[in-house]
Symmetry: C3
Subunit: 153 residues, 3 copies
């Protein structure tokens, strides 16, 4: 296995892994945007600097804005699933998968996670979000089992 972008599997992984991590990072930006526009902060120093929708300046805020909590849940779900995918993916490259099999895993995972975020934030009625989350989970688990069978055999 050549760990280089000249290796088509590595280049494919680099592309999809970067896209999904960027998507996770976008959640931080969305959270910050909602916090500032709705003036909903948890830290006293944030309320002091940026104001508060519910309380006098300088007082601690316990406000929970439903949109922000929703973004936060989607963000945490991303961390649980996307970071696991990238970590497993790096080890999966060592198993010398074929370009087609590997890229299929990466595309299915990336598609499922972009769909998951859209389904969570709109929100789209269940079980769409559940199925998208499960699809990404199965793609990562499939890569993990490939690693295990390669190492153990």
């Amino acid at each position: 296995m050549e760990f280089s972008l000249k290796n088509e599997v590595v280049a494919s992984f680099a592309l999809y892994a970067t896209l999904v991590v960027l998507k996770v990072m976008l959640m931080s930006a969305i959270t910050a945007f909602y916090r500032v526009t709705t003036k909903t902060f948890i830290n006293e120093e944030d309320v002091s600097a940026f104001g508060s929708s519910t309380q006098a300046k300088g007082k601690p805020s316990t406000a929970h804005h439903p949109n922000i909590e929703r973004v936060r849940r989607a963000h945490l779900n991303d961390i649980e699933n996307v970071f696991a995918f990238v970590l497993i993916g790096i080890l999966y490259l060592l198993t010398n998968p074929s370009v087609d099999t590997a890229t299929l895993h990466f595309k299915v995972f990336a598609g499922a996670r972009f769909g998951h975020t859209i389904a969570y934030l709109i929100p789209i009625p269940q079980p769409s979000r559940f199925l998208l989350c499960a699809t990404g989970w199965v793609a990562t688990a499939s890569m993990a089992f490939t690693i295990l069978s390669t190492v153990i055999m």
Copy 2:
């Protein structure tokens, strides 16, 4: 350092890293199982689709089931510790550790984390969970200090 499964250290890392990440992924499945069986959901669209133990359909649920919150805390602790281990582990491979030293680190970490999950979910009286968490932490820290001393020396 050959970054390949033919390298015994890399193969050992791939095995234990995959096992602990799969264990983290199992927590998502346990959470989903508990949410569905106890009908405890946070999102309105989940209540609409799957029902609620405490509220009328379509109303937001704020129910917190103690078993689910426990799994969630164990899951978050996993993310903090297991993902750090895999990231440090990849860099640790670059220090050309001996197979014995490296595998000892990987085995101790994996054993401590499987023990931690069992201790958290049963739960087993403290300080068992604390000591298991600390053991995994020290294994990762030991690998991190090996990297630092190799790079700086």
Copy 3:
């Protein structure tokens, strides 16, 4: 690209990535220290073993100590940002960046995150924490766009 510590870019990444992950791991230790010294626990078995500031032994605690919640928020922000940096950083190494450009990214990110933790825990008035978080975010995003442009071109 030689994935070895003899490669100056890889050695630089190993140094800064290890330092920031160790910093994340330090947050676990700070949380444990605060929980024990303030006797603030969430799990019943912790209260049974270590006591409680607010409740009789063996009863579930719902106490939220503001210092602990602050450390936890800083910790979660670390996980969102530091783990994304290390994952993107590994892929970024594949783009064969110059030592100067790469080390600049790593130093800016590490400096911003150490500053972020200090700004969060003291706390330093806003917008210092916001700007430090944004700086680290931009460093990671810049590496991510380098990967995308290398793979797609």
